[in-house]
Point group: C2
Chain length 397, copies 2
């Protein structure tokens, strides 16, 4: 019995595929600093955790397919705090941002249709595209230029009769890029001109540094029929395990269709929505404190990376990732080597080879993504080990 | 901007589409007895709820894509209690049975491939098939015959070069049919002969009456490469809102591929898995009590339906649904009428028109599905109102 071709072809997570090596490393008693995955060490807000400990219903019942009314009502208020004006019925609550992207791809595209996405991009977009039968057309951006959005001309080269949407991740995972408003306006003109949808993954909205303001795709006028925003509470509230996200659009035909997909899987987790709901009115201090913490980490990791000769890396403006172009040939080999062949005082570092974040073959082979999700002490220590490892690896080639 | 064709074509839930009518009914102060949806009124086990109230981790973190190791380890023991011998790595934990079915369809089929499913079937299979680009070939079964499995000849008529699998729901939603072991052995021979997969949705395993024994597809020898079982805790523990299910197969190639799909969406809800894990060793009394309760309800609803002239209905052997063929033309119209135009002492009854459970056009138009998920008093009351409503409706035509 053969499995399906799409099951053969779907990308293995380049972030998670190193897990077996890491398991072996740990079994040899070696400690790993995890800079490979976006699991923050920040505590989930007390308000959310209290919902679980105070839960006193007797039945864990289904909720509505579109999400709990109360939660959607309150989400409107959360978005208003970010100058995003929507109404309750523009929102579909999803099982994490993942499901929001799958639904969005299915609603906007038929199998064989294309979506243009700046690369490097969040690697799981590949998996979602395989599920939806969508072809991703990568729009290459470069480490040397801070992964800035290419010119209109470069983008238009990728548009053809199967193109249905342009999708961005802003602030960017894995790039850390934050698109200025002018870039979004350029994209808005392009999608209006070519009659495309524009999809924005904005799950890192709160993580923007240097006093920059984040521009949401929903801030721009004239895109009512075209703009779809996908969101998640995973990073915002350090609640990755809750699996709550949403899909937002002012295009009611699109929302009505999205609800039919949502009905098929009945509903997102009920209690997790109640927990997310409890975090809506969290004081702004919570985010200010976290942002200051991440900013500190960003400065540390950037400073430490600058100590490495021939390394290319521009300081990221958002999210909590940084891409570095290393003076080596094969970052995948280096990542495995760090786990299997290297340690310093019984410690080593794990990170994500960046090749898997590119769709263009050969791109990113000497790049890595580091997630600065560890506290200052751990991060400094990890970076010392990283530098020693890299030097040893280069010498050994 | 046009939405995609699949978004236009995906079936609206025939169970959930009556909700706007029901909302209006309620706003007029009329009480509705809900026999339309499989939301049990049984309490979720204390062991599960305690996991939430005693939760003391500080971070709601990601879990492994395949599911928590501890939970999968313990699930092996649960299945052993049902004479199903599997190992931990045969299991992928999914976000409810829904995701298990989506992954299964994607892993076994390419877009355009076909799966044979006895109809009437769980209506959301249609939505999952649309998402996966799979064509469902309905194998019609009949109320008059208790929805028994048709002959090999009838099944083989539907097999062609695009057929990839036969899928059953056993015990059956919406039919209440429980396939005897001989039927599964017939299907096993067919899938071996024609080199197909066999997929069994067994989420109602615990709900089998009249002292019958449930046969799992994983009980049958010789199907190691072919059998996939999908499961869920929603009905078993009355935990529909937790959204925890799983996909099980001894075919390692299939599991390995399934994990890649699972990696794309990162993981199922973490805390909900811990809750499900706490229910593994629940005493068998819990199920005996529930089974006795449902058996009582089954007898009541069957007895009440028997009082209706010209109604066709065979006593179901499993799950908690019953299909009745009514002496009317259009059950959809009747269902809406019951909500909009009828009440008895300010009360009415909601149920699911069965047409949406059939894929063959025109089938099931005069049939309805009733979920016997209410307690004895409510159920008797609901059935009196149902009979009065039906009589009035018939007279008014």
């Amino acid at each position: 019995m053969k499995i399906s071709e799409r099951a053969v072809n779907i990308q293995e997570s380049p972030i998670r595929k190193l897990k077996p090596y890491a398991d072996q490393t740990k079994s040899r008693g070696i400690k790993i600093y995890h800079l490979n995955i976006g699991q923050p060490d920040i505590e989930t807000p007390r308000e959310m955790l209290d919902v679980y400990t105070h839960y006193d219903d007797k039945i864990l019942a289904y909720g509505p397919s579109q999400g709990l009314d109360e939660y959607r009502t309150n989400l409107v208020r959360y978005y208003q705090q970010h100058q995003i004006d929507i109404v309750r019925d523009d929102i579909i609550i999803t099982t994490a941002g993942s499901e929001a992207i799958i639904f969005t791809m299915m609603v906007t595209c038929n199998p064989g249709d294309e979506i243009i996405i700046p690369e490097p991009f969040y690697t799981n977009y590949n998996g979602f595209a395989t599920m939806a039968g969508v072809k991703i057309r990568p729009l290459t951006t470069y480490a040397e230029k801070g992964f800035e959005l290419p010119s209109d001309e470069e983008i238009e080269k990728l548009i053809n009769s199967r193109t249905r949407a342009i999708m961005i991740c802003n602030p960017g995972n894995p790039t850390g890029a934050v698109y200025p408003r002018e870039d979004l306006e350029r994209l808005a003109e392009l999608v209006l001109k070519h009659k495309l949808f524009i999809i924005a993954d904005e799950v890192y909205r709160e993580f923007v540094y240097d006093g920059l303001t984040h521009t949401s795709i929903l801030h721009l006028p004239g895109l009512e029929d075209k703009a779809i925003m996908v969101d998640s509470i995973s990073k915002r509230y350090s609640a990755c395990g809750a699996r709550i996200g949403c899909l937002i659009s002012r295009n009611q035909e699109l929302i009505t269709a999205g609800i039919k997909f949502a009905q098929a899987r009945l509903c997102p987790p009920t209690l997790e929505q109640l927990a997310a709901n409890a975090a809506i009115d969290i004081e702004s201090e919570y985010f200010e404190k976290i942002l200051a913490e991440y900013d500190k980490r960003r400065n540390i990791i950037f400073e430490e990376l600058q100590k490495i000769e021939d390394l290319i890396c521009i300081k990221p403006k958002g999210a909590f990732y940084i891409i570095a172009k290393l003076p080596i040939v094969d970052a995948d080999d280096f990542a495995r080597w760090m786990l299997s062949d290297f340690n310093f005082d019984n410690e080593t570092v794990m990170f994500a080879p960046a090749e898997g974040f590119y769709a263009t073959p050969g791109m990113g082979r000497n790049e890595i993504r580091l997630a600065y999700v560890l506290n200052e002490t751990a991060l400094r220590k990890a970076m010392i080990i990283f530098r020693k490892g890299l030097a040893t690896y280069i010498k050994s080639r």
